[in-house]
Symmetry: C2
Subunit: 180 residues, 2 copies
DNA sequence: CCTTTCATGTAACCTGTTACATGATTGG
DNA sequence: CCAATCATGTAACAGGTTACATGAAAGG
């Protein structure tokens, strides 16, 4: 997929500036991009050139000018088509599994240490996600159904980390029990 | 992380050619790379230049020559250090969630169709993983502990897709029940 | 006083992908 | 006869990251 659709999606919610989009993408756990300027400002120029969004320059007295983008009818249609296009499988990028694959070289204590470190990190991430879920700020809820979908998206992220945490805890206890 | 450590890991198992490594990486679900030539042959040249592996050219009568790489003591030490280095969190790249985020534009039937398509794909992937798990071929098992670790890695992948499937099935039934 | 926020944008770089190039052998 | 397997490698491109550049205002 392309980040352009992610941006188009955000603009289908409400008009936003590049700066706004950057903040949302870099703070959210849903988007797999860092939210760097280069990508976002370029993408906006591109989707503007394609007529998927319109641009409005808001001059401000003291602060720098804001370029606010609004989705067009053409943009809405393009987004709709993309949303219905064949979904991709989630891509799993778990470096820890590759580290674990070659961990037999380590002593029991060393292995325990590396696994504990990972468990700790996953645990922290899970707590952060649950905390964020408490205060639904940046999520659109124009209909009851949309609110429901966003709740489900949040639950997906939580359950993914919860599943990972369960797996790693079980790994820890099994290693201790069996005294491998 | 870098693919170089993934390659070093494989070579800590047994000596392999670039061609072998390419096959393993492109066929396995553990590695998040496509296994394209460019990356692999370049990486091998690099880790060879760093003295992490040694190279042996095996001339074959009819077939093209094989360049077989063997890990060195320096390579084993570097791998060991990497395995113990601070683990990263798993990176979640799930495009479907972003599609779902803007799916409120769709009719009930259209949304049902897109979700079903996703559920179907995840289901197929899960079945394929379970099938692969039945025949443990390409996994090292030099000690009981190593066999255990690889079993756990396989279980991690399975549980991730199983968790995703459970989530999407629940999404389907909840949408039907509530008649959103 | 220093850091953060606002707000846009560019340059240089790194990583990864697809596609191309070569060429013999084996299997359906 | 055509496709796949073996086996290495390169060129062109796409996607993404970090770091740089500017410059005012607000907050601790």
């Amino acid at each position: 997929m392309s980040i352009q659709y992610a941006i188009l999606g955000l603009l289908s919610w409400k008009p936003l500036s590049g700066y706004d989009i950057k903040k949302i993408i870099s703070e959210s756990d849903l988007y797999p991009w860092s939210g760097n300027n280069n990508q976002i400002y370029r993408s906006l120029v591109e989707i503007h050139a394609e007529g998927l969004v319109s641009q409005e320059v808001l001059l401000q007295e003291t602060l720098p000018a804001r370029k606010v983008y609004t989705i067009t009818q053409k943009g809405l249609t393009a987004l709709r088509a993309w949303v219905q296009s064949t979904p991709e499988l989630p891509e799993l990028h778990n470096t820890f599994l590759i580290q674990l694959a070659w961990a037999d070289q380590l002593s029991g204590a060393e292995m325990d240490a590396m696994i504990s470190k990972y468990a700790e990190e996953v645990d922290i991430q899970l707590r952060m996600l649950l905390e964020k879920g408490q205060r639904p700020s940046n999520t659109p809820a124009r209909t009851r159904r949309e609110a429901f979908l966003w709740e489900k998206i949040s639950q997906n992220l939580v359950s993914t980390y919860q599943n990972e945490l369960d797996w790693v805890r079980k790994l820890q206890t099994e290693l201790k029990e069996k005294g491998h």
